[in-house]
Assembly symmetry: D3
Homo-oligomer: 134 residues x 6
Amino acid sequence: MTTVKLWTDAEADAVPRVKAVFDDIRATRRSDFINNFWRGLANQPTALERTWASLKEIMAADGALDPLTKELIYIAVSVANGCSYCIHSHTAAARGKGMTEAQHGELLAVIGMACETNALVTTMQIPVDPEFQA
Amino acid sequence: MTTVKLWTDAEADAVPRVKAVFDDIRATRRSDFINNFWRGLANQPTALERTWASLKEIMAADGALDPLTKELIYIAVSVANGCSYCIHSHTAAARGKGMTEAQHGELLAVIGMACETNALVTTMQIPVDPEFQA
Amino acid sequence: MTTVKLWTDAEADAVPRVKAVFDDIRATRRSDFINNFWRGLANQPTALERTWASLKEIMAADGALDPLTKELIYIAVSVANGCSYCIHSHTAAARGKGMTEAQHGELLAVIGMACETNALVTTMQIPVDPEFQA
Amino acid sequence: MTTVKLWTDAEADAVPRVKAVFDDIRATRRSDFINNFWRGLANQPTALERTWASLKEIMAADGALDPLTKELIYIAVSVANGCSYCIHSHTAAARGKGMTEAQHGELLAVIGMACETNALVTTMQIPVDPEFQA
Amino acid sequence: MTTVKLWTDAEADAVPRVKAVFDDIRATRRSDFINNFWRGLANQPTALERTWASLKEIMAADGALDPLTKELIYIAVSVANGCSYCIHSHTAAARGKGMTEAQHGELLAVIGMACETNALVTTMQIPVDPEFQA
Amino acid sequence: MTTVKLWTDAEADAVPRVKAVFDDIRATRRSDFINNFWRGLANQPTALERTWASLKEIMAADGALDPLTKELIYIAVSVANGCSYCIHSHTAAARGKGMTEAQHGELLAVIGMACETNALVTTMQIPVDPEFQA
């Protein structure tokens, strides 16, 4: 159960600011599907507009990192933050952008290894080597 | 300050199991530099051997993900876990593997965006859409 | 599913220490409703007494912060810790203490923004400005 | 040590997009002081612009939550995320907006209590009561 | 719902590397039961082998810490990381190794107290006393 | 640097409620040393009294878990929460209660393993087996 209302298409269509974002999500993704995240965020049109604008800009195709790499990073962060919804939505997005099972398996291994060594380092309170200075 | 001793080269040379791992780190990385993480882990030769073997296998060059992508994922996890040492060491490693400033900038943006939307989703307790089913 | 038993009213009534806490919760909140958290904690009467005493003292109405502000802070922490139960219970409590949809929307935005800038700062490993010294 | 360069005023003045944001931060805050966060983010003008625009909008004075309450929420999230820099900068900001020692003390107590009950709930895996349904 | 397939016994039997691990889990635990974690990890035989080998070595009976203490530590970490599955599986394992209700109650109290004081320390940004130097 | 004042002995002696707690800490621990955590918490006498009373009760010697086991659990939680101060203070406490290097090494390994498998489980979103039901 959610702590906010999830907007239906009919409700979104009745509020121009929400409708404009939903229309742009559909156009950008070339799909009619609007996932629940946006239907919840619709309760706050300002946050909806700002979040979609930021996400569209950051995850856009023509950056220095390719779209699949960005999805893998997104999944990694979502795992470390324990966000089940985000793990599901970005794993689906990564598969949609071509992630293979072998790549998913390596992602899994790298995330696990990173969490393990993060913990080992923190338990031992290892100081940063001067060689790592930027 | 650490909670364990950081081993010097002289101390490592005196314990064959530790020396063997340090030698393999140097050979694999083609560098004499042994960073503090391994000098701390040397207190537990079994953990040292297991961790190095796992890391070497997982971060190896010839997988389904390229070495730089794995470093970016490692940084992302380390940020979400708040491990300062790991952020420094893997940012240095990513730069060593060719990460550009533009790529670092996009990594920064994706990590920030993921943490923000993770939090928005969690605040609203959004349910997973059935469309994301594996 | 839980890892401990959730106590029914009949079970609570049979143990004087548990009954005393449940009675005080009901009297303090002017409601018969005892939520599951307390029904789980009842397995450890000492922890039940201590936790209720602390919570009652900390969340009391006549402090330097008003009760609604305390609930908003509670939600924020629970989101960052990913505690679904606590997000639900304290969002309900905040609504009971007058939180409007507009306030909930701003809470959402502040939590999201804080998580994003926390991550940006951590990725860049920004040093504390001397101007922030207490 | 940082993983990115911290921009000096001279460097910022030489890049119009960065200068424009720094000028707006100074004008909005009525202070010449630019803290290190922005000096690090200056490496990515797009992220700098987007983050400042979002922060300015979200933390603005005339919302449904007052500015001090927003700072308290910001501190709470930063504590749960373990972001030392953000704890310092937003504690300073809260003091600048009138936070008293008594209010800081209650903030401390609420954050501590929330972290404790989050952990108790998670250990017991307590299910959400239907009464908390939105 | 999972992001990967959970392998059935029939599927596991058809892949020698997976079958070998499943057989060893059954032999080591003297039980036919293979829990879902291993059925998911079976998608990546290398990760399956490495993880089982590490877990078997670390959680083995004849170390410096007794098996029940290791399970309590495992639960504590899983709570702090918010891993519901791991809390359930290791609470069951701890009970299987003799954890009493009184011990579970004290574990609960220590985890809660640690999370509270961790948060208090972090809010106040307390510096490490030189007396704690290793 | 801290966000609150650290109280000196002279300052503590001048406030009876603070003095009483400091005296009891010294008597309970049979040591004159008061670590910085309590010197910071002294700013809020109510929180100081409540926290010391809870800690004393929870960490007391004669429970169902022995004092060293409780310290190991405390360290594990502090690592997962990334609380450097708490890792240092409770590692020192554990050593004071007899923790050997071999035990510290196993603690390290269990914490690392738990963080790794927590992450693997979360990435795969593994459902809880019905066999783990309490």
